[in-house]
């Protein structure tokens, strides 16, 4: 772990209709860390994110942001959901500026400030288009920009790249790593893809079972920025093998 813990969940448990979906989830994200969370479909990853984001209330346990108890408090953490959720009737610029508008900035200023970040997110020239006119990769980057502009001290990203074709996804990976090196935003990232988890993160949690529990936590020792051939290294394949063992129980 590098530096101090920013986001921490403590013994989080959630029931749906009397049945536990996730149980006693403990995890933490440190300053500057990218942490991946992998697990099979339906294990309760998105459920956990909704709890951390404060949209729903855990039946047991707490969520901490630095030293503040943010259990069931929405509006503290940047959250990018599984779908991009861009509003079809707003332009890309208006969509991206939503966090500023919700914070009460005047419309003109909100749009102007959001516009400044378009080039860095590879969205230059798309401001006045509607989301339906964008490619999948661009929509995803717009959603990511909106998430970042929310300005939380940590970010939750629920399968940010899973909807993309393999080639676009690879490009997004390197783009994302460079962006994170700049932004230095502690992030917790859900993925189904073991490669993606090892490639992008400093630490990987594996969730499994019913109810879903954290069954394994693996630090990825390679420092970021990582060499281009990291995927071909022994460290990479060892990490992958260890993770797969726990995933496929």
């Amino acid at each position: 772990m590098t530096g101090q813990v920013v986001l921490r969940t403590e013994q989080i448990t959630k029931f749906y209709q009397g049945v536990p979906v996730i149980e006693n989830i403990d995890l933490e994200v440190g300053q500057g860390e990218i942490v991946a969370l992998i697990g099979q479909s339906g294990v309760g990853k998105s459920t956990l994110f909704n709890l951390i984001a404060g949209i729903s209330r855990p039946d047991d346990g707490r969520v901490w942001l630095n030293d503040e108890d943010i259990t069931a408090k929405a509006g503290k953490i940047s959250y990018m959901q599984q779908k991009d959720l861009l509003l079809p009737y707003k332009t890309v610029l208006e969509n991206v500026a939503i966090p500023y508008l919700l914070a009460g900035l005047p419309r003109r200023e909100a749009l102007a400030r959001a516009r400044e970040h378009f080039p860095r997110f590879g969205l230059a020239g798309t401001q006045d288009h509607y989301p339906s006119q964008l490619s999948g990769g661009m929509r995803q980057r717009a959603a990511l920009l909106r998430t970042w502009l929310f300005g939380g001290q940590a970010a939750l990203l629920d399968e940010p790249f899973s909807a993309l074709d393999p080639l676009t996804r690879r490009q997004m990976h390197s783009w994302y790593l460079h962006l994170m090196a700049e932004l230095d935003l502690p992030s917790l990232l859900i993925t189904h893809d073991v490669n993606e988890a090892v490639l992008l993160s400093d630490r990987v949690y594996v969730m499994a079972g019913s109810p879903g529990k954290i069954v394994f936590c693996l630090p990825i020792k390679q420092k970021r920025p990582r060499p281009d051939d990291f995927e071909l290294s022994v460290l990479f394949s060892q990490a992958k093998r260890q993770l797969l063992e726990f995933l496929l129980i």
Binding site: L87, K90, I98, W175
Partner: protein, 280 residues
């Protein structure tokens, strides 16, 4: 430095926004010709039937006679139209206002929704036209009963379309807005209201035609001016050509209002036409 690297790594094609083919543009004009062609054939048939006197001329005036009547009575019809349009638009406005307020109210509380919705639906089985004589009885022969009738007729499609629009927002998007700390006013402003617009315009398109017809029917029961008043007068005089002329005029006014609604919709729901606009 990092910025440059980020840019060079971007997926290719910064502006590869989806483009529509041009093929559609030329065909639209042709498609519009078909109904007009059919209409022309029907008019010719009608004219033929009248010309060989299959039906007595005073019962079924020929299209040419109707056109002539419309032309001759046009100044008079225009001033009557003004009265009817005023009643229709003012009634529509109040119908819309109540529909909007009620929809917002019902959307804000599940209790109100469950209480009011069944009543709202049942109230629609009341034949509004049958209320017209009562309205005249209560409110006199002035403009007021006409406005009230139009408002009543327009109210339901508007209320239902707005309400179902407000209630059909995507739960995930709602979650996103809550995660960003949005309050209920902001959720209404950014999600519910714009989300309800496509359905609302469908309701409005129905309502404007209801509004004109509602105004005309209310005028049948009495008044000083208006297309409905004119209609009852020419009916009593057995001037069926003028009767048809009024009907044609009512159709034209309805089409005009629908066209205005369409233009308004194109402005408000601009995003739905975004790819079409890119063609220009």
């Amino acid at each position: 430095m990092a910025n440059i690297m980020v840019k060079s790594l971007l997926p290719q094609g910064g502006n590869n926004t989806r483009k529509l083919s041009h093929a559609g543009a030329a065909r639209i004009g042709k498609e519009k010709l078909y109904p007009f062609g059919l209409l022309l054939i029907l008019l010719l048939l009608w004219q033929g039937v009248c010309s060989i006197s299959l039906v007595p001329a005073f019962l079924l005036p020929s299209p040419l006679n109707v056109a002539k009547a419309l032309w001759l009575a046009f100044p008079e019809l225009l001033s009557h139209s003004g009265v009817t349009l005023l009643e229709s638009l003012v009634g529509l406005f109040f119908g819309l206002l109540t529909a909007f307020l009620l929809a917002v109210l019902m959307d804000s509380s599940p209790l109100l929704y469950q209480g009011i919705y069944p009543i709202l639906v049942v109230s629609q089985t009341v034949p509004t036209v049958a209320l017209a004589p009562l309205l005249v009885l209560w409110l006199g022969y002035g403009i007021l009963p006409k406005i009230v009738l139009v408002a009543l007729v327009c109210f339901f499609p508007l209320a239902v379309s707005l309400l179902s629009g407000f209630r059909s927002i995507d739960p995930d998007t709602l979650g996103l807005f809550k995660a960003m700390g949005a309050n209920s006013r902001q959720i209404f402003r950014h999600l519910k209201l714009p989300g309800a617009m496509p359905g609302f315009f469908a309701g409005l398109r129905v309502s404007v035609t209801y509004a004109i017809v509602g105004g005309v029917i209310a005028e049948w029961l009495g008044g000083q001016a208006g297309l409905g008043v004119y209609m009852t007068r020419v009916r009593k005089a057995y001037a069926y050509d003028k009767m048809f002329a009024v009907i044609v005029l009512i159709i034209l006014w309805s089409l005009t209002l629908i066209k205005i609604v369409d233009l308004l919709e194109r402005r408000v729901n601009r995003w739905q036409y975004a790819s079409e606009e890119k063609l220009n």
